[in-house]
């Protein structure tokens, strides 16, 4: 007989939620790394920091939009934040990752936008006087405070999606406690990759990119370890991977998204090549884990025997 999770129904979280999980993870990871460099980096890391804030702000806004579009009733998105019958009483359930996550996206998005405005004010790229005033206020100690809190929230946004999936009764997702950790590590790894891809356009130095690349190597090793633990913890459920999604996990995620970038890092190939593969692997990780489970709907015993 199958595990108990096979009797549940599929929630149809597919082509809006998969990009949302990917972009949300990447944005949160980029924000976390940018905040770390804001606090502990060099002056020469500023282009990477500014890129990180932009990636976080744009990414989290896109994430919120994807999450809203996916709702059956998009205009009721605010029901996750306020009690619809008792507005403006807050709607919040600390034990429900989707409730926690809705608030985290909102608050992290606000912090990321503030950080991005501060960075743009620093570069003198804000035209509007109002935005210049807001951006100008986010500097020095205020900037450190905003990015410190925002960076930690970014880390939460990068990882809560995996925990959200674990707090269900669905095959694969609820069958392993490692999915949250896997999504978090992958989010930070793809965040570093996104910075490697985009930061050169903002004037990032070779030394900053080398640090990002070196961090991404370590993050990929951590991701490989967590992926192995995730697969081992699935036990008998692993038979679901005897499908196209298993092939995608092995070829797309493991080989192309983790092992090949590690090889490129070891060979000291241009950092952008490995980063693009890491981004592809991060996206395919979410495709494989989401759709492998989505394909299993309400187990029926054939012929009742």
């Amino acid at each position: 007989m199958p595990p108990d999770t096979f009797f549940s129904g599929a929630p149809h979280w597919t082509w809006f939620i998969i990009p949302y999980f990917f972009v949300g993870g990447l944005s949160g990871g980029a924000y976390f790394l940018a905040a770390l460099l804001e606090w502990f980096g060099h002056a020469e890391d500023r282009p990477v920091v500014r890129t990180g804030y932009d990636v976080a702000a744009i990414g989290i806004i896109v994430s919120g939009a994807l999450l809203t579009i996916d709702l059956g009733k998009p205009l009721r998105f605010w029901h996750m934040l306020f009690q619809s019958a008792n507005f403006p009483t807050i709607m919040f359930k600390g034990w429900s990752p989707i409730s926690f996550g809705a608030w985290a996206i909102l608050v992290c998005g606000l912090f990321a936008v503030l950080s991005a405005l501060g960075a743009r004010a620093e570069e003198g790229r804000l035209q509007s006087a109002a935005l210049r005033a807001v951006g100008g206020a986010v500097r020095g100690g205020v900037a450190k405070l905003v990015t410190g809190v925002g960076g930690l929230l970014g880390l939460f946004v990068a990882g809560y999606t995996g925990v959200l999936l674990s707090v269900t009764n669905r095959p694969i997702w609820a069958d392993s406690p490692w999915l949250g950790a896997l999504f978090l590590v992958s989010g930070v790894s793809t965040g570093a990759a996104a910075l490697i891809v985009f930061a050169p356009g903002r004037g990032a130095t070779t030394r900053s990119l080398e640090w990002l690349s070196s961090f991404d190597t370590r993050a990929l090793v951590a991701e490989l370890l967590v992926l192995v633990l995730f697969i081992v913890s699935l036990g008998a459920v692993n038979r679901v991977w005897l499908s196209f999604w298993g092939l995608l996990l092995v070829v797309g995620v493991l080989a192309l998204g983790i092992l090949w970038p590690l090889r490129l890092h070891a060979k000291r190939a241009p950092v952008g090549q490995a980063a693009r593969l890491v981004l592809l692997g991060g996206f395919l990780l979410r495709v494989a884990t989401m759709l492998a489970s989505e394909g299993i709907d309400r187990y029926r015993v054939a012929g009742g025997m």
Binding site: G159, V163, S166, V167, P177, L184, W211, V226
Partner: protein
């Protein structure tokens, strides 16, 4: 709170007439599938196949046949279990899912925003989106009828009393007597979800089965989705801490390398 109310479904007397399905659809004004054009399942006499947003009752046909003259039919009218500890209610981020004064679980359609967290949380695969409303829907145990002292439409329509409605305590007593009666006749019967100390604190819609729960499409040990929260969140926090340490160690190494290249701690640095 009023008395806990619910269903006891005795599958041994279900004849598969689907009157309960029809009564449910009619009372709750649930739309037809495919605009009323029925698609045959092709491998069963049951064409409803599953509970979803427009089928809140489903008479499951389990056709156990080894040969033309060697087999049996099992039939079970399935519905939301109105769990005492309900996973759907736990995870719902909008507060749309409530517990009523009858200890039943109801989705308020005007509050639900269709996020579908409840669908993934339900261990029984009961909830789904109603394509007309765009919200998650399931059996309400006829909350509107209960409020005016009427019994739910399905149990009212059931011609064999396979679906019995009443106070849970009374239904449990009745169910235990029925199991004892069947066992005395040599039938291997068991109750599913009747015990308040069992999974999910007991089910307010429980069943008498004559085969393994899995045969009826029921999980043997249904669990709350939040049982995974602590471990999953803990491992995520631990991995976040590891990544943070890796990043800080990398930054420190870079700084030390620069100091070394500049001729020791007294050399030039790039501190921001």
């Amino acid at each position: 709170m009023a008395q806990a109310m619910g269903f006891f479904t005795d599958t041994t007397v279900c004849i598969g007439c689907k009157a309960c399905e029809v009564a449910c659809k009619e009372w709750n004004q649930l739309p037809a599938e495919n605009g009323g054009v029925r698609e045959l399942s092709g491998d069963s006499y049951d064409n409803t196949r599953k509970l979803d947003g427009i089928h809140w009752r489903h008479v499951r046909f389990i056709e156990q046949f080894k040969g033309p003259y060697d087999g049996r039919w099992l039939m079970m009218s399935d519905v939301c279990k109105h769990c005492v500890q309900a996973g759907c209610l736990e995870v719902c981020p909008t507060g749309a899912i409530i517990r009523t004064q009858f200890d039943t679980v109801v989705i308020q359609s005007d509050v639900c925003n269709g996020c579908r967290a409840c669908i993934a949380a339900c261990p029984f695969g009961v909830i789904d989106i109603n394509p007309v409303s765009g919200t998650a829907q399931k059996c309400t145990l006829c909350y509107d009828r209960l409020q005016v002292g009427l019994e739910p439409a399905c149990s009212k329509a059931c011609p064999t009393d396979s679906i019995q409605f009443g106070a849970i305590s009374e239904l449990r007593t009745r169910a235990e007597k029925r199991v004892a009666q069947l066992k005395s006749q040599g039938v291997d019967a068991e109750l599913y979800g009747a015990s308040p100390t069992g999974p999910l604190g007991g089910l307010n819609s429980f069943y008498l089965l004559v085969d393994k729960p899995e045969v009826y499409g029921l999980p043997r040990h249904p669990e709350l989705p939040t049982q995974n929260l602590r471990k999953s969140a803990g491992l995520s926090v631990a991995s976040a801490a590891v990544l943070g340490v890796l990043a800080l160690v990398g930054l420190r190494k870079r700084r030390m390398d620069e100091h070394a290249a500049a001729g020791g701690p007294g050399g030039t640095s790039h501190a921001s």
